[in-house]
């Protein structure tokens, strides 16, 4: 469990440059790239109530303001309320057989709030239509909205008419000779000084009064009954009424929850799509990196001393059905930085092209980056594995390392995962020739690897030691549609970072 909840010792770098533990990463099989929740596009898939597990169609969810019609939460402590029976005895006391008339009220197990506290009458049915508070200003506000909608509509029509006449528009950035009218336009308000004169339906503006709400006189003498006054959180839970006292707290319908699907922004494929049924924890599509990228766990490290080499042991596990070969390379953060710059460059070229096509060549000076980048712009064009223009740009990996990892000369093999082998010790014979300097021990699809790590010489006691390397593994692509234009197997690289612990002393 500590692997899931504990400190994140081993982190993998996503394509976008963020570091995350492996279970939080996805792997787009179409792009063969690691993705994470930050660089994927999220979409709402289905709605359900977390209490009654009812699936709610989206139109109904909107209609019910994203709340469950049946479940309510406590306005006092926000826990779920339960319905209690209050039997009132038989309808006809003389007739022993007559049905007991039941009524219901709401009660909170946690803070003992009940719907009776606030004077809500008991309801005849368990799924009772608990009274809702009405906005007292609703009629006036609806009138105001109607008038605004009318005004803006005529505005828009006028604008369209004048556009036909003039065919010219005032640039936002034109700052010379701003008139009140231009300023209006810039601020984004209608260009008619007295828009209200033109309004199709008369509406009286609100009238200000000189009287204001006075401070209640008894505040200076009456003891404050703290328990009757709401907290700020209780008030804000009911934005419309924001009751000051607890006797005005009404039960709140429970907010619905959603299932989300995640889509790769580069290729538009889903990498995660849940099943519709709210009680199902399964997925229709689940391209978790965990299923494709070898997992590395920290096993042990010798005490870390500044400038001295310690032995680090880590465990590699192959999650796939295919044998893979692992090669360890240098972290090479410069390369990642270059990649980030390249992506930015694409952006600039995109812009440049757009700008050119807009025939604003005169004003536009070439961004210096294109000129000074060393690589010729023309070759950049040929590089275009074009991406959609709106995409989360990768960023530089923001993790410093202060410990050297001796890069092993040899590689090692991870056999495919074999679920049956887990239960069968005898069959654990493999004819793999390992470099004994590298592989300490192996079993089925797992291998324990020894690495020599040397914390930087200038580290002090208690400094956190972080190291990292690039892992290359052979990824076997199994989606038939893609096999044609992509290699079946190829090398995939990912940067992995380890928080090894603290320096314990120089000697």
């Amino acid at each position: 469990m500590s692997y899931i909840t504990g400190p994140e010792i081993v982190k993998y770098a996503c394509t976008c440059g963020l570091l995350k533990p492996l279970p939080e990463l996805y792997f787009c099989r179409h792009c063969s790239q690691i993705r994470c929740s930050f660089c994927l596009c999220h979409a709402v898939d289905s709605f359900f109530c977390g209490k009654c597990s009812e699936n709610i169609p989206s139109a109904e969810a909107r209609h019910k303001k994203n709340r469950c019609a049946n479940c309510v939460i406590c306005p006092s402590c926000q826990q779920e309320l339960s319905t209690r029976v209050a039997s009132k005895g038989p309808i006809n006391p003389d007739d022993a057989k007559s049905a007991v008339k039941k009524s219901y009220y709401l009660s909170c197990h946690f803070c003992h709030w009940t719907s009776r506290d606030v004077g809500i009458p008991d309801q005849p049915s368990a799924t009772g239509c608990w009274p809702e508070r009405e906005n007292v200003h609703i009629n006036r506000l609806q009138e105001v909205l109607d008038v605004y909608q009318d005004i803006m509509l005529s505005q828009q029509q006028q604008k369209e008419n004048s556009k036909k006449k003039r065919g010219k528009f005032v640039s936002y950035t034109d700052r010379t000779g701003v008139t009140a009218s231009a300023l209006r336009r810039r601020i984004g308000i209608p260009d008619i000084p007295h828009a209200k004169i033109k309004k199709p339906k008369p509406l009286d503006p609100a009238i200000a009064k000189s009287e204001v709400e006075e401070l209640p006189e008894d505040i200076f003498t009456e003891p404050l009954k703290l328990m009757e006054i709401t907290t700020i959180d209780q008030r804000l839970m009911q934005p419309e009424s924001q009751p000051l006292t607890v006797d005005k707290l009404f039960p709140i319908h429970k907010q619905l929850t959603i299932k989300r699907s995640l889509r790769c922004r580069t290729c538009e494929h889903n990498v995660c799509k849940p099943e519709y049924n709210p009680t199902s924890v399964k997925f229709k599509i689940q391209l978790f990196a965990y299923y494709y990228i070898p997992e590395i766990r920290f096993v042990t490290v010798e005490p870390l001393r500044a400038g001295q080499t310690s032995e680090l042991i880590i465990k590699f596990t192959n999650p796939t059905q295919h044998q893979t070969t692992i090669t360890i390379f240098d972290l090479d953060l410069e390369e990642q930085e270059k990649y980030v710059e390249e992506q930015k460059l694409f952006d600039i070229i995109d812009n440049f092209e757009q700008a050119m096509s807009l025939e604003e060549k005169q004003q536009l000076s070439l961004p210096s980056l294109v000129m000074s980048s060393g690589s010729q712009p023309s070759s950049m064009y040929s590089l275009q594995s074009r991406q959609p223009s709106v995409i989360v740009k990768p960023r530089k990996i923001n993790q410093a390392v202060n410990c050297n990892v001796a890069i092993p000369e040899s590689t090692f093999i991870l056999p495919p995962r074999d679920d049956a082998a887990e239960y069968d010790d005898s069959s654990d014979v493999h004819n793999i020739e390992d470099d004994p300097k590298l592989v300490k021990w192996r079993k089925s699809n797992k291998a324990f690897i020894k690495l020599a790590v040397t914390p930087a010489a200038d580290l002090k006691i208690d400094d956190e030691v972080v190291c990292g390397f690039t892992m290359q593994h052979i990824y076997t692509n199994v989606i038939p549609a893609i096999v044609e234009n992509m290699p079946h197997k190829y090398d995939h690289k990912v940067r992995v970072f380890f928080r090894l612990g603290k320096i314990v002393g120089s000697e």
């Binding site: 596009c41 999220h42 979409a43 709605f47 139109a59 109904e60 909107r62 303001k65 994203n66 906005n135 200003h137 006036r140 506000l141 609806q142 105001v144 909205l145 605004y148 909608q149 803006m152 509509l153 828009q156 936002y172 950035t173 700052r175 701003v178 009140a180 300023l183 209006r184 810039r186 984004g188 308000i189 209608p190 828009a195 509406l203 503006p205 609100a206 200000a208 009064k209 000189s210 204001v212 709400e213 006075e214 401070l215 209640p216 505040i219 200076f220 404050l224 703290l226 006054i229 709401t230 700020i232 008030r235 804000l236 934005p239 419309e240 924001q242 907010q255 812009n351 807009l358 709106v390």
Partner: protein, 376 residues
């Protein structure tokens, strides 16, 4: 099913007012926000809550806004932001870094189709169906006064002071620690609850007694406030009454809440002054405090005797009563504007943004200050 057709999800447009303390979220055509949540996100590294306004760089702000917007869409709004417009209500004094970063997050990270940015002081008048008013917003970080005349914010008259919830909380904290020995580092949310449940803005007639510690001063009853389970804190009557006094304590430049309002009026044309004084609109969470409006009226009246304000020739102040709670008045204005054709006419489209890489700067105060004063 067909009854819901008119509410098709296409028409749902999110309206957002991200304040320094609270974020109001809801949809256009609604008359109240669905949620008012704290403008905070959990820091991935430390697992502690961090205020959005405490960002330390543009990248840091970007990441926090990504998180906040994610929560708003996928926990509360329950719609996908992609290819939908969004309405943002923001202060005219909103830092450029903040608005540009927010636009970047919305367009690049969430791929919204367009953003309608509305100045909070201006749209706060919408629910009153009024186009002229002196809008006073007292929120968390600051109090900002901007006159709006015939639908045009008079930017050169703006006034701002760091008077708001944050300042009040720290004042309350120091008052409490002097009457409760050994109690320090009370968490801010706890202080806020003491403030909203126990404290109030007192009458100006009691101020002299309160400040002078006169023997005839009869404080309101003390409150024993439960703290950390079994312990408690004494909130004396004096503290209850004194907490909000900093709003009217003049600073080194003799500025306070009441002078700000009068200074703003002083900066507009003579013939507009009386009209503004008769159309005071108070918005922001802090103005909801018990006794706030009554006291403000007293203080304004008192300041009129000040030589500096005699020239105003104002005799009476009038206050509007909003058809909503003051802490979401600006949001409501955004919801009204956003429900009209204004959205399609004035929203900044993704295409425009991707081309220009920034928002049109309608609030470049330096420019506007010069030009407005010339044109008015």
């Amino acid at each position: 099913m067909s009854t819901y057709q008119s509410l098709s999800s296409e028409k749902l447009t999110v309206v957002l007012d991200i304040g320094s303390a609270f974020t109001r979220f809801g949809f256009t055509t609604d008359f109240a926000p669905r949620y008012i949540i704290r403008s905070e996100v959990r820091c991935k590294k430390t697992n502690k809550l961090r205020k959005i306004c405490d960002y330390d760089s543009a990248d840091d702000l970007y990441d926090m806004l990504v998180e906040l917007i994610h929560i708003i869409y996928f926990k509360y709004a329950l719609i996908s932001p992609k290819d939908r417009p969004i309405v943002i209500v923001e202060s005219l004094l909103c830092p450029t870094l903040f608005r540009e970063t927010l636009a970047k997050v919305l367009f690049l990270q969430y791929e919204v189709s367009s953003i309608l940015v509305l100045p909070s002081h201006l749209v706060a008048l919408a629910s009153l169906a009024n186009d002229t008013g002196l809008v006073v917003d007292v929120g968390y970080k600051e109090a900002v006064v901007i006159p709006v005349c015939h639908g045009l914010p008079i930017l050169q008259a703006w006034q701002a002071l760091p008077l708001g919830g944050e300042h009040i909380h720290s004042h309350l904290k120091s008052l409490l620690s002097s009457s409760n020995t050994g109690i320090q580092n009370l968490p801010e949310n706890f202080l806020e609850d003491i403030k909203v449940r126990c404290c109030f803005v007192t009458k100006s007639s009691r101020v002299e007694q309160l400040e002078g510690g006169k023997p005839e001063y009869a404080p309101p009853p003390d409150v024993v406030y439960p703290y950390a389970g079994t312990e408690s804190i004494l909130v004396t009557g004096k503290v209850r009454e004194k907490t909000f006094e900093i709003l009217y304590e003049e600073d080194n430049d003799h500025l306070c809440l009441s002078t700000m309002i009068l200074d703003a009026i002083l900066k507009v044309n003579m013939d507009l002054r009386q009209k503004l004084a008769e159309n005071l609109v108070l918005i922001g969470g802090t103005v909801m405090t018990l006794g706030f409006k009554a006291r403000l009226k007293e203080e304004l009246q008192k300041q009129l005797n000040n030589d500096r304000y005699k020239v105003l020739n104002i005799h009476e102040f009038k206050f509007h009563t909003l058809p909503c709670k003051e802490n979401y008045a600006a949001w409501l204005g955004g919801a009204i504007y956003g429900a009209t054709e204004f959205l399609s006419m004035k929203a900044i489209s993704k295409d425009f943004y991707l081309r220009e890489k920034h928002l049109p700067d309608w609030i470049n105060l330096k420019d506007i200050n010069n030009t407005v004063s010339r044109t008015l």
